[in-house]
């Protein structure tokens, strides 16, 4: 099946812009991204089923890890459904140059999770959906596919080697959805310690590329 998709993608007759991009030296060749492209371009249901089989259990686990206020277990299955429906509906807009399928699906899931929580806890009408805040300007992305790929590999590799307390905090922040302040309360650590643990972890993974950034610090 994958073979078939790769064939379709490589066929010159399917020469849409995205396919042309994939034929360049910087190919995004991971299985999930090719499947997602197939869903976007040809509404390929088999490809979607494969994505579902891989991602639905991960999404459910992601959602069950949530310790947001107002979250309850029944929401987990709803989230899986909502995310996978969005994946189908938005696949045509997936740009393989900007992110891998896994990263793209993570952002869809994160935004859905926030929107579901807001809908539950907020009686006011919310003018924007969370994904509106992640809207990118239409311009060439400065990050090359190659660099992204290297980043991804580096993150995967160094994540496995992080000291336990840094790993713990990243999971609290990303999976449980705790703000830094909440994490500091739960762990009984000063907020500054939480922030510096996160920062150390990010430096190790070389995610912070601009340590010289000027931030607007409190003026004393």
């Amino acid at each position: 099946m994958l073979r078939k998709i790769i064939d379709t993608v490589d066929k010159p007759s399917q020469s849409t812009a995205k396919v042309a991009v994939l034929n360049t030296a910087e190919k995004r060749s991971d299985e999930w991204s090719l499947l997602l492209i197939a869903v976007g371009e040809t509404r390929d249901r088999q490809a979607f089923a494969k994505l579902f089989k891989h991602f639905a259990p991960l999404l459910k686990s992601f959602s069950e890890a949530s310790r947001h206020q107002g979250w309850y277990p029944g929401l987990s299955e709803d989230l899986v459904q909502e995310v996978m429906i969005k994946v189908w509906q938005k696949a045509a807009g997936y740009n393989a140059e900007k992110a891998s399928a896994t990263t793209w699906i993570y952002t869809v899931a994160r935004n859905c999770r926030i929107d579901m929580l807001r809908r539950k806890s907020n009686t006011q009408h919310l003018p924007l959906e969370n994904e509106d805040y992640w809207h990118e300007p239409d311009e060439e992305t400065p990050v090359t596919l190659l660099r992204q790929k290297r980043n991804g590999d580096k993150i995967q590799e160094s994540l496995a080697k992080l000291p336990k307390e840094q790993d713990e905090i990243l999971r609290k922040v990303y999976l449980e959805g705790k703000s830094h302040a909440e994490a500091s309360q739960e762990l009984g650590l000063p907020l500054g310690t939480v922030k510096s643990r996160v920062r150390l972890a990010l430096q190790k993974m070389q995610i912070l590329v601009s340590p010289e950034f000027q931030e607007e610090l409190p003026h004393e």
Binding site: N130, N151, F213
Partner: protein, 227 residues
């Protein structure tokens, strides 16, 4: 965007943005900054990669066999509904590249009766934006070229992103995309750049106190009013 940006949200804010735990009002500000800032966008991408890696590393949960069918059925239903109401189906058109961040434009549009300017003094206008949260007042401020805002100090914290033009205060000059934080107790008097008007997005957490002699005249205007 090509201009040099000197001030950025601190990294822990960007982490919370990527993890989806940042408050709504601050999410709006960071989102506006990202529109202008390549560097922060590129770090955000790495942070999102980290999030997706953490998601992939977790132990997968069992999924009910029938869930795929349920999802496919909902997808079909939604597509059918769309076909049936074809006349009214609106294709989201990406308006001509505008110099404002997408999220800000959308907030301007969706604020009831669309956002309107009201005058604070001869050189400063404000337009409050409806954002569906009540911790911060989110608003646009427009300062005419060379205009001075009233001198004020803050009881709350104020985040500002420059959207157009430039402004300066006692500390520095800020131009498009710059992200400023003013802490409680800071006193400042921003001034618009000499050559063109300056428009900023700001999120303000509590009433600000005016310190200039005639400041009391402004007071009613500067009470925060989240919407």
């Amino acid at each position: 965007m090509s201009n040099q940006i000197n001030f950025h949200p601190d990294r822990s804010m960007l982490v919370e943005f990527s993890a989806g735990t940042l408050e709504t009002a601050l999410t709006i500000c960071v989102s506006a900054h990202l529109h202008f800032c390549d560097q922060c966008r590129s770090e955000l991408l790495s942070l999102d990669q980290l999030g997706s890696q953490l998601m992939s590393d977790a132990k997968p949960s069992d999924i009910d066999e029938s869930l795929l069918d349920t999802v496919m059925a909902k997808i079909d239903e939604a597509e059918l509904a769309q076909v049936n109401s074809k006349g009214s189906a609106r294709v989201p058109v990406n308006e001509k590249p505008s110099s404002f961040p997408f999220s800000v434009n959308k907030l301007i549009e969706s604020t009831e009766h669309s956002a309107t300017w009201s005058r604070l003094n001869s050189s400063l206008d404000i337009a409050r934006l409806k954002t569906g949260q009540d911790k911060f007042e989110v608003a646009l401020h427009r300062l005419c070229a060379g205009g001075k805002a009233p001198k004020h100090d803050h009881q709350g914290i104020e985040y500002t992103v420059v959207l157009k033009g430039s402004l300066s205060d006692e500390r520095s000059v800020y131009s498009e995309g710059d992200f400023l934080v003013r802490q409680p107790g800071d006193i400042h008097q921003p001034m618009g750049g000499q050559n063109s008007e300056c428009i900023c997005l700001s999120a303000l957490s509590a009433p600000i106190k005016l310190t200039s002699p005639l400041g009391f005249l402004m007071k009613p205007w500067l009470q925060i009013r989240p919407m």
